[in-house]
Amino acid sequence: MSTRKKFVAAAVGLGLVTLSACGASGSGSGGSDSKTVTLVSHDSFAYSKDVLKAFEKESGYEVKVLKNGDAGQAVNTAILTKDNPQGDVFFGVDNTLLSRALDNGLFQSYEAEGSDLIKEEYRVDQDQHRVTPIDSGDICVNYDKAYFSERELDPPQSFDDLVKPEYRNLLVTENASTSSPGLGFLLGTAAKYGDDGWQDYWKKLKANGVKVVGGWEQAYNEEFSGSAGGKEAKADRPLVVSYASSPPAEVVFADPRPKTAPTGVAAGTCFRQVEYAGLLSNAKNTEGGKELIDFLVGKQFQEDMPLNMFVYPVREGAQVPEEFTQYGPQAEDPETMEPAKIAENRDQWVKSWTSLVLK
């Protein structure tokens, strides 16, 4: 009988868990009281605990953070729930998705305190101030330093270099229709070679043996010879589409830290991504939301971002940590594109790219 007793005990235990779970669920929803301010973001949002605590202490608000999947999913759920938003502030819509958010009326106007300190080049929507730029990052081709020094070959520096025969079968990139760096790289080539020229460029790139995989994780961790995973997997591609901040990350996330980064950035292959935050249209706590946006462009948070999200600050005078300046200088002259132009062309370009490169 003892097994049965054990079983009954377990069943009762499970039942109690269910009951307690149901009981607890009632108190789970909140965020409507004026002392709580809720930030909705995507899965990559990260920060230092003490920095947020400082804001909570100063403002008297309790900050709740919710994450809804990847960048695309987070923006889309925010749009779908716009009439009854999950929170007060949304962070993490980038220039490739900005028009979608604005056209759908996701945000209300608010000119953040300190937005005059945001660098000129990042400012958008200057007449309505529906979004505030928070961070920027560059999508660039990274190279494996060891590979090129062993062969006494200069690593490529520009888009033009990538189609040269000496870099044949060396580049791996991501599917532009399912991966954000993959899309950024495509947009970079479109910005560089123009609406009519990028397809020719990709034909050459394809002829030069570019490999396309599903996402950044496979490209970087499985195919790129310069990464930890790539070394394990005996990867044979020394060029990968990643971020300008990947080399500093290779240093920061290594123990012991190497003296120089094992990877470098091809400076002429970059496309600039800017992420924005905005006050949600039907926010319940607009006052708290406004203060939160002020905090996001404030010096303290701006200087906290680089080592948490591996992005660069947009605020004039915000210090970038030494690891960044030393191992991953920001691209000098990245390709850029107007959000409206991206919105207009993106689906068509991705479609043509897919039939051109994948089929």
Partner: protein, 566 residues
Amino acid sequence: MKSRGAAKASRGSAARLGLMAVPVAFFGVFFAYPVAAIVARGLKVDGGWRFGRIAEVLGDSAIRHVLWFTTWQALVSTALTLLIALPGAYVFARFDFRGKRTLRAVVTVPFVLPTVVVGTAFLALVGRGGLLDELWGVRLDTTVWAILLAHVFFNYAVVVRTVGGLWAQLDPRQEEAARMLGASSLKAWRKVTLPALAPAVAAAALMVFLFTFTSFGVVQILGGPTFSTLEVEIYRQTSEIFDLSTAAVLTLVQFAAVGAVLAVHAWTVRRRETALRLVNPSVTARRPRGAGQWALLAGVLATVVLLLVLPLAVLVERSFHAPGFAYYKELTADDSGIFLVAPIEAVRNSLEYAVTATAIAVVVGGLAAAALTRRDAGPLGRVARGFDALLMLPLGVSAVTVGFGFLIALDEPPLDLRASWILVPLAQALVGVPFVVRTMLPVLRAVDARLREAAAVLGASPWRVWREVDLPMVRRALLIAAGFAFAVSLGEFGATVFIARPDHPTLPVAVARLLGHPGDLNYGQAMALSTILMVVCAVALLVLEGMLPQSRSSTGGTPVDRTGEF
């Protein structure tokens, strides 16, 4: 007499309808309503339905190709899984060998691992520099074979546990009797055992089909960007392109396809489930005898090692590459920047969520199975069968659809659950319930109805009948089902990543996030955390199996008809 019988029958029906109330409410609120909401969002524009979109989307040859490939690969994966795993089910059910329990837990481990890690592991088998490459220069990555084999890897346990669970309880003396009467061993198996096993085989095939039909990560990682399934397409339409009407049509197509498969399943199984003589599994298993049986055991073990253990071992090995367990030590540091908490806390989060999800799945699924046990003729029976099929639908619906549906539908009090932690176990339980129902139903239906009637005649209340007659016989199935539900919720990723709170990452979410960052330490920690996830899964299953009834010495080794206890 007649009127009393009728009254009793209607009371029984009422009771069963009552049992159904909880599962019906659960599915209505947490599945049908959210999914209907997101589909309606896509197809309803300015108050008018745009059913014309269905024809437009289906008219697209690219979409039709995706549908064809999705179905084709799911059918082949299911057949391949059955082919490779059925001998395993036999071996685990009928043979006694050292390390059997541990191995049974190990084969379930792939089930809980996030595909992004399994992709890594599997590439070490079939990819560049992998075992096949080293031995024979064969590379299968970016071929459809990598997808198919990975599906076997993931679903091996589904067949072994579902079919093996019932097989172990079949009385071997029936097959022996057939052989004594002159049947060949193959014929005896085909005529006696196979019909008895059919419902379990069909249930396993159904689950494997649904899992592979909605495959996402495996197709993306191992197949390369040229292969696309409906699930990948739905992800693209909802997350990237934001074309909700196309996504809605694709979701409806998924429903239709899954519905058709469920109908076929119901049709094949309906006449095959019969009352079986179930025996204590501990007495049906014995040491292999003769060269043939030893060869079978060796073959199954070799398959398990090559296909399942080897890829897992790759992950474990990589997690130890840094000297002094550096990757594991790093997991306890809470200053990494990627997480708000030390990554190791994901273990506790995952366990809490999985226990809650298992509890919900066992209660909801158990009630549903109990309600569906007796098959009625007529309209009530049809309703019950329809509901039985409905319960399986979550397995065949995209996690992205469910995630989006949750966030747009469960947004009003009293069900404003969007910020609540309970959303995670609820989403996980949705996938667990079908396992509970499918594992328990064949066994419950195999219980001889006359036993229940006898107990009722002797004055037992329906609850008492269930407790005294059904429960002891289904205890094994219940524990197996709970193990499945636990494993499923431990490994759920697609919907969880939508709704997990940032300070409460689950293990798969944490692994994926670590792999999303450059750097040796992040990669190493992802491997270490995956190893921990495997161990957590294996230990939990072993604990559950430890609760299985053990053989009793008093029976003296003869098969025990457990009904004899009453």
